[in-house]
C-alpha cells in the first residue's frame, strides 16, 4: 500500500447527498476482475453520455477539477454496496482524499485499506472547504499533523484514530501486519473456541 503522508491538491466539489457506489462504479463493470486501471469507469454515467462523450456539467470533466486530488463530497458518500471497485476507481483517477460530513461505512473502511484518507468534518468546516473547492483552490493535507490547511492558512483538524493513521503513514499491509503480530493469539483463540463450542467444527 502506498503511504499517505501529505497531499497538496485541487479539491473538487461534489456536494449531492447519497452518492452511492452504483454512481461511483456502475455494476455493469463489475465483471472486471482487475483492481488497477478502473479510473475510466469512475462516476461513468455522470461523466459520459450514451456515446461515451464527456458531459460538460460534471465537475471532474471541468477545469481545474479535472486534475483534482481531493474530493469534497456530500453526506453519506459511498453508501450502498461493498464493492471495493468504488475506491479503486477513484484512486485511479488520482484522488486520494475524500472529505464529507459522513460516509457509507463499508466504503470508508475500504478507503483506508487502499492508502486513501476519508475525512469526516462538521457542517461549518464542510462549508468552508466546499467554498475553497468551488473556487478551484488547493488544499494541503498533512496526516502526520492531522490537519487540512486552507488557502487562507487556517487549519481544520482530521479526526482519525492512531492505528489507522500509523497504517496510512507507513503504508502498512493489513494482512502481513496481523500475521506478524497475532498469529499465535489467533491460534490460541481458535483452540479455546473449539473447546468451548465443540459442535461448531463441521
Amino acid at each position: 500500500m502506498q503511504p499517505f503522508t501529505t497531499l497538496t491538491a485541487i479539491a473538487a466539489p461534489l456536494v449531492e447527498a447519497d452518492v452511492d457506489t452504483d454512481i461511483i462504479y456502475p455494476a455493469r463493470f463489475l465483471t472486471i476482475t482487475e483492481k488497477k486501471g478502473l479510473g475510466r469507469y469512475a462516476f461513468h454515467d455522470r461523466r459520459y453520455d450514451g456515446q461515451g462523450r464527456e458531459l460538460a456539467d460534471f465537475v471532474l470533466n471541468r477545469d481545474p477539477w479535472r486534475h483534482a486530488g481531493i474530493l469534497v463530497a456530500g453526506p453519506n458518500f459511498g453508501c450502498g454496496s461493498s464493492r471495493e471497485q468504488a475506491p479503486w476507481a477513484i484512486l485511479d483517477l488520482g484522488i486520494r482524499c475524500i472529505i464529507a460530513p459522513s460516509f457509507g461505512e463499508i466504503f470508508r473502511g475500504n478507503c483506508y485499506r487502499n492508502g486513501m484518507l476519508p475525512v469526516i468534518v462538521g457542517d461549518a468546516d464542510h462549508a468552508a472547504l466546499l467554498s475553497d473547492a468551488n473556487a478551484g483552490a488547493r488544499l494541503h493535507v498533512d496526516l502526520s499533523a492531522r490537519t487540512i490547511t486552507r488557502p487562507d492558512g487556517s487549519t481544520i483538524a482530521i479526526a482519525i484514530d492512531d492505528g489507522k493513521r500509523d497504517a496510512l503513514l507507513n503504508g502498512w499491509d493489513e494482512v502481513m501486519g496481523i500475521l506478524n503480530l497475532y498469529a499465535g493469539t489467533i491460534d490460541r483463540y481458535e483452540r479455546d473456541r473449539r473447546t468451548r463450542l465443540p459442535w461448531l467444527t463441521r
Partner: protein, 469 residues
C-alpha cells in the same frame, strides 16, 4: 452486567484489543462470490499466503450468472471468466465451491442459510453489503470489501471498531397484506439512508417475533439501506425449527448443545441500547419507494411527496433530484405510477414465501398488456420447492417468465438489464440511479405488491388482490 445480543456476539469473538477501541474480531465463516473475491485471491498469491481455514468458507457464483440458458456456457466472456476464476481459486485454495449445476446453487444470502452454513452465535462475512441478511438467525453478519476478504482468508480476523446499538421495536401485529418488506422500508424511511451509520440494529418486538425466518431475512437484509452494516433478530424457537436438519447444521447431541448455547444469546431484559426507535405495526400500510434512495418511501395509498414540504434544503435537493430522475410529479397518487417491468427475486425477496404470496395474488389472473415480468428464484432449492407446489405454473399462466437463480435484475450485472427510462416494480433492495440498467427507474416493494402491480400495469395495493383469494 446485562448485555445486548450484539454485545454477546461481539464480546465472544474478540481475539485481541488494541488502543483506540479497535478489536481483532474472529470471523467464524465467510461466503465468497465471483465479484469481490478475485482480487483477494490474487493478493494471497502475490504474497505467497495460504487460506488459514478453508473449511470456514463457502463459495457460490450469483452476481454475474445468467438466469437463462444455463445448459450452455455463459455467453458474456467476461462473466464466464469471472465465474471460472471463482472455481479455479476455490479449487486451488481448498474451498468448497457450489457450481452453477449444483442443486445448492443460489444467491449467497439464500444458499448460506438454506445449507445451515449460517448459524446463530457465529460471525459471518461476505464481500456483499447485504450480508446482514444472516443476522436474522442471531448471527453477527456484515458486508466487507475485497481487501477485508483477503484478511479473512489469510488470518480469520478483521480489525474493527465496535458499533453502537440501535433497537428497532416493532409493536403490535401486522395487518393483513402487510409484510416484512413493508416493515423494513418503513424503518429505512424513518431512519434515513444514513440514519444508522455506526450502529448495529436489533429488530425486536411482537411483530418481529411473529415473522417467519424468510420474513426476518428480508428485514435484516436491508439494514445497510439505513447505513447499518449489521441487522439482528434474536434466535428463538422459530429459528431453531427452521435450522434443524439443514445439511450443515449440527446433528444429534451437537444440535442440543448448540441450541442450549443459542438460547443464551438474546439481549438481557435490562440491557441498555444506545438508541431505540418505535414502529407501530398495526398502523403500517404497504410501502413503496418513489425516489432514488431507499429511504424515499411512501404508503401505497399515498402521494408522491413535494420537495416544497421538505424539512430542510438538503432533503429538498435530494428529493428534487430523485423526482427528476424518476420522471414523477409531486402530489401524484402513488398508484398512478405506470410500470412496464416487474421483477420478483433477489436476496431480499427471492425465497419460497415471497413466491408463495406473489403466486397467491397472481392465481387465475393475467399481467397487464405491455408489462414484462420476471421471477428469479433465490436458489435452486427455492425453485424446486416452488415447482413442487405448482407456483411456476401460476407465474407462467399469468405471463411471468420463470428463470434460473441469481442476483439478476437486483444488480443488473448479467444480461437481465432494463433499457433507459424503463420503470420497474421490483422486490429488490436498491432504487439507486441506474441500478437495474443505465437510466432505468426502480420502485422497491414487497412481492405481493409487485405481483399486484404486474396485473394492474401500475403500482397497486396488494390488499385489493389478496382479499379476494
Amino acid at each position: 452486567m446485562p448485555f445486548t445480543l450484539y454485545d454477546k456476539l461481539w464480546n465472544s469473538h474478540v481475539v485481541a484489543e488494541e488502543e483506540g477501541g479497535i478489536s481483532l474480531l474472529y470471523i467464524d465463516r465467510a461466503m465468497l462470490h465471483e465479484v469481490s473475491s478475485p482480487q483477494a485471491f490474487a493478493a494471497l498469491r502475490e504474497k505467497g499466503l495460504k487460506v488459514r481455514n478453508p473449511g470456514a468458507f463457502l463459495a457460490v457464483a450469483d452476481h454475474s450468472v445468467p438466469t437463462r440458458h444455463r445448459d450452455r456456457p455463459i455467453a458474456d466472456p467476461q462473466a464466464r471468466a469471472q465465474v471460472e476464476l471463482l472455481a479455479l481459486n476455490s479449487n486451488d485454495f481448498g474451498i468448497d465451491m457450489i457450481g452453477l449445476d449444483d442443486p445448492r446453487q443460489g444467491i449467497v444470502h439464500v444458499t448460506g442459510p438454506e445449507q445451515g452454513f449460517t448459524l446463530p452465535g457465529l460471525t459471518l462475512v461476505c464481500g456483499d453489503s447485504h450480508t446482514a441478511t444472516h443476522g436474522a438467525f442471531g448471527t453477527l453478519a456484515f458486508g466487507i470489501g475485497s481487501g477485508e476478504c483477503e484478511s479473512v482468508l489469510a488470518t480469520q480476523v478483521l480489525r474493527l471498531t465496535k458499533a453502537r446499538t440501535l433497537r428497532v421495536n416493532v409493536h403490535g401485529d401486522l395487518p393483513p397484506g402487510v409484510g416484512a418488506k413493508d416493515i423494513i422500508l418503513a424503518v429505512v424511511g424513518k431512519l434515513g439512508s444514513n440514519g444508522a451509520i455506526g450502529h448495529a440494529i436489533e429488530y425486536a418486538g411482537p411483530a418481529i417475533r411473529a415473522l417467519t425466518m424468510e420474513g426476518r431475512m428480508t428485514l435484516c437484509n436491508m439494514s445497510i439501506e439505513a447505513g447499518s452494516r449489521t441487522g439482528l433478530v434474536a434466535p428463538d424457537e422459530v429459528t431453531f425449527a427452521w435450522l434443524e436438519g439443514r445439511p450443515l447444521a449440527p446433528k444429534g447431541a451437537d444440535w442440543d448443545a448448540a441450541v442450549a448455547h443459542w438460547r443464551t444469546l438474546p439481549s438481557d431484559e435490562s440491557a441498555v441500547f444506545d438508541r431505540e426507535i418505535d414502529i407501530d405495526a398495526t398502523k403500517l400500510v404497504p410501502q413503496v419507494s418513489w425516489g432514488t434512495s431507499p429511504d424515499q418511501v411512501a404508503d401505497v395509498t399515498g402521494r408522491v411527496p413535494d420537495p416544497a414540504g421538505a424539512g430542510d434544503a438538503e432533503t429538498a435537493a435530494k428529493m428534487t433530484k430523485a423526482l427528476s430522475y424518476m420522471g414523477l410529479t409531486p402530489g401524484m397518487p402513488v398508484r398512478d405510477i405506470v410500470v412496464g417491468h416487474v421483477f420478483i427475486g433477489s436476496c431480499t425477496n427471492g425465497r419460497i414465501e415471497d413466491l408463495r404470496i406473489a403466486a397467491r395474488v397472481l392465481k387465475d389472473r393475467r399481467i397487464a398488456d405491455g408489462v414484462q415480468a420476471l421471477v428469479v428464484p433465490g436458489s435452486k432449492a427455492v425453485k424446486s420447492q416452488a415447482e413442487a407446489e405448482g407456483l411456476d405454473a401460476i407465474f407462467r399462466a399469468a405471463g411471468f417468465e420463470w428463470r434460473e437463480p441469481g442476483c439478476s435484475l437486483c444488480v443488473a450485472m448479467n444480461d437481465d438489464r432494463l433499457p433507459p427510462g424503463a420503470r420497474c416494480a421490483s422486490t429488490s433492495n436498491r432504487n439507486f440511479e441506474g441500478r437495474q440498467g443505465q437510466g432505468a427507474r426502480t420502485h422497491l416493494m414487497g412481492p405481493a405488491m409487485a405481483a399486484a402491480s404486474a396485473i394492474a400495469g401500475h403500482i397497486a395495493d396488494p390488499r385489493d388482490y389478496l382479499g379476494e383469494a
